[in-house]
Symmetry: C2
Subunit: 505 residues, 2 copies
């Protein structure tokens, strides 16, 4: 790892220096995992521009040894990071790193093949078809969504990409039927007020008129799930005004509250109107590897597409999103290109081999280039096995149940919506105060907890109420970390309530 002499040719993949540098990074990361619970979970230094001021304005002219770079990471970067791998990270949804996910990603990054065409790395394309079928089977998806049953899957980077691709497929299917691009003005997309914001962004990206995005209200009565009746009412009104229902999103485990939309009911409405039904199980899909959670996907055989993110709760480092479709043809006809420079043996049959079974994954996604994500998910599945992964999910659900019971048993607090998976939404509910004051108290409680650096949670607002979210799912998170954050919350609650009462008097 010595410094490079001026103008000496760099040897970017020299095996010895590659191994030396890489081992130094492995040691750095092992030390990071050993100490990660000692860092403030949310970045300690929240002064915008801090890092920019520390770094020079231009790239260095001369190369430097890796040790210098790692020293700078330790000194300048780490204090400015929010530590997503801390066992006390309970914000948003956690994103899982793991030794197996890391090993798989290293293989992907090190081999650095680009399986955009089957021929550009046949084994990479085929491994992807295998692991998406494996995952689909683990989740109990119907055969029609798997390659083995005429559907198929792809690994993308995010739900957002999956949404853009399926919206484009649905749009082009509808426009072909309606006979002209100007019909795009009539297409309507449906979601609930709990659906992830990415659907609205996706609909706008693919050119659906912003006025044609329907946000249908949900309520406590249905646990904030979207009811078929509510969808029908809106769809009927649109159809009566000459609009064309295009796409309905059902979410299993919403971001805000972990709510579940009834997939079967919504699927029946979608079928009746020829709409594309997408099931977004980004977070909670991982839970469906446990039979006791598969009921939440009841009716999924009515879906045109389903997506879930192994990078959230499935020990697969960022990024990895599984997308399954019942009709690959609709996806690829919206996303295909066939320029001369990509014609090849295999899929175009210009070699002496048959074209069957050779998938060009570039036609299943937004981008042409792509990473060998399949090997990452494959290593996770091989290394931990379904049994190990179910244990990972169940330990977090057990911890969430413990926390939910603890909150419910403390009369100062309330659980705001019933817990379904490993997300608990709760708040302080002091008897003496009006709604605004309650929101303020909870805002203060959340800020007080996050400022300790001993845990990091985020909030949501439902029916005008500010609620605190405890999202359990970190790779290192155990019951004891959940017990610790409960103790911390109770302590801070005393302080916040005392201060508030004092201010009132």
């Amino acid at each position: 790892m010595g410094s490079l002499p001026l103008d000496a040719p760099i040897l970017p993949l020299d095996p010895e220096s590659f191994a030396d540098d890489s081992r130094a990074v492995v040691d750095f990361l092992a030390e990071y995992y050993r100490d990660v619970d000692k860092y403030p979970v949310r970045a300690a230094d929240l002064e915008p521009g801090r890092l920019r001021k520390l770094l020079p304005d231009t790239a260095p002219e001369l190369g430097e040894p890796l040790e210098h770079v790692l020293e700078d990471v330790r000194r300048d970067i780490l204090p400015g990071l929010t530590h997503w791998q801390s066992p006390s990270f309970f914000a948003y949804f956690p994103m899982n790193a793991s030794a197996a996910g890391f090993a798989g990603e290293m293989l992907s990054v090190g081999l650095n093949v680009v399986p955009f065409l089957w021929a550009a790395s046949p084994a990479a394309a085929e491994l992807e078809t295998v692991v998406v079928d494996w995952m689909g089977n683990l989740l109990g998806l119907p055969r029609r969504l798997l390659f083995s049953g005429g559907g198929g899957g792809v690994l993308q980077g995010s739900t957002c990409e999956a949404v853009v691709c399926t919206l484009a497929a649905a749009r082009d299917r509808a426009l072909a039927k309606l006979g002209g691009h100007e019909a795009i003005m009539k297409l309507v997309v449906y979601a609930s007020d709990q659906t992830h914001a990415t659907f609205q962004k996706g609909a706008r990206l693919v050119g659906i008129p912003p006025d044609n995005f329907r946000v249908i209200p949900t309520s406590a009565a249905s646990g904030y799930g979207l009811t078929a009746d509510a969808v029908r009412a809106v769809v009927d009104r649109d159809v009566a005004s000459g609009l064309v229902p295009l796409y309905l999103c059902a979410t299993v485990g919403t971001t805000g509250l972990g709510a579940v939309d009834p997939v079967r009911e919504l699927g029946e409405v979608a079928r009746r109107h020829g709409m594309w039904l997408h099931v977004d199980a980004a977070y909670a899909g991982s839970a469906a590897i446990c039979p006791e959670f598969q009921g939440y996907l009841d009716g999924v055989e009515l879906a045109d597409s389903v997506s879930m993110n192994p990078h959230k709760w499935f020990l697969t480092n960022m990024d990895c999103c599984c997308l399954w479709v019942a009709s690959p043809r609709h996806l690829t006809s919206a996303l295909s290109t066939n320029p001369e420079y990509l014609k090849n043996v295999g899929t175009n049959g210009t070699g002496n081999k048959p074209a069957a079974a050779a998938i060009d994954y570039k036609d299943w996604q937004i981008s042409l280039s792509r990473r060998f994500r399949a090997i990452k998910l494959w290593v996770v599945l091989r290394r931990y096995g379904a049994v190990g992964l179910r244990g990972h999910i169940r330990r977090h659900v057990t911890a969430a149940k413990w926390f939910e019971r603890a909150v419910a048993a403390d009369e100062r607090f309330e659980v705001v919506v019933p817990r379904r998976f490993s997300l608990v939404c709760f708040r302080l509910q002091p008897r003496w105060s009006g709604d605004d004051a309650v929101d303020d108290v909870n805002r203060e409680l959340l800020a007080a907890v996050n400022e300790t650096g001993r845990a990091f949670m985020t909030h949501f607002v439902v029916d005008g109420k500010f609620v605190i979210r405890l999202a359990i799912g970190g790779a290192m998170t155990e019951l004891r970390h959940v017990m610790d954050v409960w103790e911390l919350l109770q302590g801070k609650a005393v302080e916040v309530l005392q201060a508030t009462r004092y201010n009132k008097v």
Copy 2:
């Protein structure tokens, strides 16, 4: 790395087993790099379905030691890969791996932070603003495209994403001016017959009517660059029919031939018609770190956006695309979302810190979630320095010059278009034959070379002529590998020409 006892909790980030497993992968990859020139460059086994047949239909129930997985990679996966890191990979455009790119990616993957919001990892967001400015400076981009001059940049996964985002920004800017979404039917996107297919796909994705995508012919006279005259003629016709010119793409280093569109001329046409000018320098942008290549970007100050891919020729493992925009506001107004669960201290100013300088990168891209790509590019720049990276580029250009001269000096061959960077387009040109026969001979020559496994090249078709592309740019590629492939080509040319003559007689 022992196997996990049934039902034992997995410890996904236990520092010791993490380090053991990771070191095993490092050793595996170091060995791979040591031996990569011994593998057939293009996958040896091109039998579709081969790998699928080797693997079980379902994921394993029980976890396995990493050694088993690595053995399977060696036995089942490697023979089915096309070896993009082989020094004799000359197909498409090479994609660079490097020790520094790998180290940077390991840090990104291991820390596994998600800098979608500034507050979700301030140092990650800020490092990104720093490295895109560094890169812009190295390329000689004008200050208006850098943060330091009021513009700014983002790291995305691919040019395709950059195209979708800038097309959406241009579309929404135009629709706001035209006063209604139905004006989308009038918007027209312009590219040349050499522009990457991803632009047509991108335009379709964002809802531009397929009939409004103009493919403007180029010719040998302009070196297959798009001329301002040709654009003006098409634009004037569109304007006369009441259409609205929206977006023009200028490419510096096209995929097929490495052609260069004249940025300044095209920028002036774009300005006159209020069009968004995007400069796509995906491949050749890396060369612009050498002053002698910056002339190809002359006029880039007229661009609304510029993109280039460090993952191609800049020693940065997949994936990494730099996108710069002159007006971040137009990008973010097309791509922003602001749901409750993402409101945070910093950017929403709900904390006690100012909101300035805190960038929420989710509003600069398609997806919400994102990886810490900045640290990868930063490690590459730190470790190799501008001097080392310029040397990397220049050695490949020198090798391409050598090859171009060798081809020109052999009367059986011809160089089809003048070389600009490190891509040489050539073909056999036997005097005795008609055009179709020449195409066949070259098709056979390419197949014969690729079938040896000693090199891998791909083809292009221009003016109806089949040409062979030698794209130099692999991380391990040296002049001697280019000399070897020339010797191989000459030998195979003798065989192919003899066989063809024999068939003719």
